[in-house]
Symmetry: C2
């Protein structure tokens, strides 16, 4: 019998989540049954999409239910196994939830090699954010050499990988991020230009930097930044809808992109996708990105917060306040 602390959804937030959103409980887990194993979690992923999972609406995954352990990806080590494919000591990643220990039947769990890159990177550049960047650019963005690629939330987990992948492909890459520090980092990791949306006029700067318009806009934020990009498309542009973090905590449905008729003027497409849509391409993408990391062309950065699972709620807010650079993870003490 293993005792674990875990964070559950206490009540659905309206607007930004706060202390009343979460509860921490301590429970005893049974021993793993046949075909199951027990994982000790070491890192928990924090993702903007989590905000959407708290709303009681029809979406691409069911909402987290009240009283249920908060859904989250994580990494850990198998500490006890009755599963033929997983052995004690295996490093694994999966959607274990915000918990110290979890019982798993192996569904959606992947063994990871942490000898070259640490567990946090398996939640970032080599995890869902990296795959999101990769599939978005290739499958939806139809990225090709020479494209002018603009990325919002460019210093985030997905954006920072997307920009580096586009650079590696031979594109011109413009990042949009909040604050001088993040912008400086983007230039450091190879972005051609960085726009600080907190201190610059994005629409105007895009017109200066990319006077012929942009081929790919990889959008993680929505709102005014999406409009600024739409106003500056190039013929045949692709607008990749990956997220809309600027609107996730709005209590009412936020205004839509008022410049959407640019899609007609520039014969452009705007298309949404989810990282889960291309499972058959994940292995090749991870191999490709691992190679880029080894050769120094892809810098994987994480912002690691240390603390117990009870720190999850406070840590999550950091995402909406832009406190992280690169992937935000909670390292379970």
């Amino acid at each position: 019998m293993t005792t674990t602390k875990r964070t559950t959804l206490a009540q659905r937030p309206s607007g930004l989540p706060d202390d009343s959103t979460w509860a921490t409980e301590e429970v005893d887990l049974p021993a793993p049954a046949d075909g199951e194993f027990l994982v000790k979690i070491d890192h928990i992923s924090l993702d903007p999409a989590m905000r959407g999972w708290l709303n009681d609406v029809r979406s691409y995954v069911p909402p987290v239910q009240i009283g249920e352990v908060m859904r989250a990806a994580g990494t850990g080590t198998v500490v006890e196994s009755n599963h033929p494919d997983f052995a004690e000591g295996d490093a694994v990643t999966g959607t274990f939830g915000v918990t110290e220990y979890a019982i798993s039947n192996g569904d959606g769990v992947q063994k990871i090699d942490t000898s070259q890159v640490g567990p946090a990177t398996w939640l970032g550049a080599l995890g869902m954010p990296g795959l999101t960047a990769y599939h978005g650019l290739h499958e939806v963005g139809e990225m090709k050499e020479g494209d002018i690629v603009v990325i919002s939330a460019a210093a985030g987990a997905v954006g920072s990988v997307a920009g580096q992948l586009a650079k590696a492909k031979g594109c011109t890459v413009i990042g949009i991020a909040g604050g001088a520090e993040k912008c400086a980092w983007l230039k450091e990791i190879g972005f051609d230009e960085a726009i600080d949306y907190k201190n610059e006029n994005v629409l105007k700067r895009l017109r200066e930097i990319a006077p012929k318009g942009i081929d790919i806009f990889f959008d993680n934020v929505g709102g005014d930044i999406l409009d600024a990009a739409l106003a500056n498309l190039r013929h045949g542009a692709r607008v990749i809808i990956c997220g809309a973090v600027s609107t996730y905590n709005d209590e009412k449905l936020a205004p839509g992109p008022k410049r959407y008729m640019s899609l007609l003027v520039f014969r452009a497409k705007m298309q949404g996708f989810l990282v889960f849509d291309y499972p058959e391409k994940d292995a090749a993408a991870i191999a490709d990105m691992s190679e880029l990391i080894s050769s120094g062309k892809l810098v994987a950065r994480e912002t690691v917060v240390e603390g117990g699972v009870e720190k999850f709620g406070e840590t999550l807010l950091g995402l909406f306040e832009g406190r992280n650079t690169g992937k935000l993870v909670l390292k379970v003490a």
Copy 2:
């Protein structure tokens, strides 16, 4: 020397055009030079897109200039020719402008056979509206048998053709139009269902009629109707952005589609296009639609207003008030 009356842009409208927008002038045209011919116009096309041409903004065509003859497609007869390819008596269609007579060098002018279908149909089902419907569904919508297709402004020039083309392809077709009369007509020409947006809740009705969601939304109107469709997409849906007539007369940029994140939830694309994008496919499309007209599968309907070119401004307003069913044309007396 030929005297012609013609309508020019007197000043740019803010909101709906009115009498002050237009001027009618009478001018003498010179005899056609070498390589030119003189056309006597009989029908003038009225299109929602015209409203956009009056704004002094960068778009897919240059704006009509103050003092310039209003741009418009039309049909007519060659009455005098110094052009090797056009002879006196030829029936033609082209962008001759809002005028009784025009001199042309043949650019963009096409000879038409008016023995089977009248000139007004060459401005409607076999003209730009018909080609718009055809290319939109095939090239952008990737229409296939069995798709659930929803069309806004379904009783208009483009929508009524689009719906019938989708039916001919074996799709289930739902039209959205204003008023019981138009809806009844849609059923008459084969639409499976018709929603009267003036008297019904479009969102609710779409959910009732198409509980599994829609595969193709062919949008001519924008606004709330676009949002209602976005809220009800099916996995992999295609949203064809053809127009946004509900917003063309707004003095400020109208709100955008607040449900655009449905593109992510349903992995859908929203794509704009223009009829001019597929010139190499026009002839085959016209042949295909002519065949459908002959076999009775495509009903070409026009609302014909009679009057001189000075009636253009007043007639154009009819488009924004939904006075027309099918293609709206001005028959020059």
